[in-house]
Amino acid sequence: MAMTIHVDIVSAEGEIFSGLAEMVYAPAVMGEVGIAPRHTPLVTQLKPGEVRVDTGNSKEMQHFYVSGGILEIQPHVVTVLADTAIRAVDLDEAAAQEAKRRAEDAMSDRSAEFEYAKAQSELAEAVAQLRAIERIRKGKRS
């Protein structure tokens, strides 16, 4: 049997792949790397691309698309910490601006959702009161 290396591909939202492989190819930032068993320990960033896992048993290679992440290599274990989201500095910045804007909107526009929540609780209170009154009335009658 050929030498194998254990491969884990995980993302923040779940495990994507776990198993043995003869060879792994990954898109590192400084060029694609091919990892065979007993590769030297290495930690590198990944850029968007394809991680290919050659499981060796004459089947086709398994392909996984990653939009970036970190690759960690130990002599017998390869770990891909994959990003599921598309990441870029300006994209992240835009997302941050968006989150900020939403918060500001919510702060300034209190009339919308907060008023609604308040009205809802007041309504619940009124309903409870009505129900109590009703019950008292019924008790008197019977």
Partner: protein
């Protein structure tokens, strides 16, 4: 038989309500199972990441990233994770109440706070409370995606990097089991030193492009993944709390129906008795 019809309609409406609560209970039960498995699925990522970060610290003990340095705390950023919807018992309120106590301590100590809210309930509550909300995320749904959190968390991390806030904490519900959820507060940044230790053996890595870049990249993602984990865990808590609350509501509805049924039967019987005595009285008079 004055009240009989009223009581009957009331029984009918309670029955309808209990059908809804029963359905919600079952929906929450199935969603809870999914949420729990999602919770388990997020664990390997954070664990692996912790390992790599641990290695990095081991290799460069002299290099201190901003996210590692303890500063004097003048302003704290709180990331508050809550549910989007209500009808889940005291889940959110318990968390907010506990948080309030902590906030009061901070205020007494002269420490200011910023909020970053995740979920509708926290936004509504802290909006009313008048806190300074710097970022927010709502409507994450049953399957939250990390994309929706990146921006929200980045606002906090940037504020930390700029020195506007000196600590980032997270408040969420920790999933103990189906019946118990415990409000939990954790410090995210500066990263507590326990997170970086516990190495069995370590490798002499080659870093590409450089150890600092890799570390920089990793730390942001690490914090994000922790926040994501908290959101997923809070989701599981929400579903289980809702399940329990709806079960209690269905049980109460059952009790109420039993009670009303008794009253209804009594009223009916009273009416019949009255009718009979009237007939008998009438017959006697003739």
């Amino acid at each position: 038989m004055a009240g009989a019809k009223e009581i009957r309609t009331q029984i009918g409406s309670i029955k309808n309500t209990s059908k809804i609560t029963k359905a919600m209970e079952m929906v929450a039960a199935s969603k809870m199972r999914k949420a729990q498995s999602r919770m388990a699925a997020t664990r390997p990522y954070a664990e692996k990441m912790r390992n790599v970060i641990g290695h990095l610290f081991h290799a460069h003990p002299e290099y201190k990233h901003t996210f590692m340095i303890e500063r004097e705390v003048k302003r704290i950023g709180y990331i508050i994770v809550s549910s989007d919807r209500g009808l889940c018992g005291g889940l959110n309120n318990n968390l907010f109440r506990r948080l309030f106590k902590e906030l009061k301590e901070h205020r007494d100590a002269g420490v200011e706070v910023d909020f970053c809210t995740i979920g509708n309930k926290a936004l509504g509550f802290f909006g009313r409370f008048g806190g300074n909300i710097v970022s927010q995320a709502v409507h994450l749904g049953d399957t939250p995606h990390i994309e929706n959190l990146i921006g929200t968390v980045k606002v906090m991390l940037d504020a930390y990097a700029d020195g506007k806030i000196d600590r980032i904490s997270i408040a969420y519900n920790h999933f103990v089991n189906t019946m118990t959820q415990s409000p939990t507060f954790e410090q995210l940044v500066p990263i507590p030193s326990t997170a970086e230790e516990e190495l069995k053996h370590h490798w002499d890595y080659i870093y590409e492009p450089g150890s600092k870049e890799v570390l920089e990249n990793l730390l942001g993602r690490y914090v994000e993944s922790l926040v994501y984990q908290a959101v997923v865990e809070n989701g599981a808590c929400e579903q289980s709390a809702r399940m329990v609350a709806m079960k209690a509501a269905s049980d109460n509805a059952g009790d109420l129906i039993d009670e009303l049924q008794l009253i209804y039967n009594k009223a009916r019987q009273a009416a019949i008795t009255q009718e009979i005595s009237e007939i008998v009285g009438g017959a006697a008079a003739v």
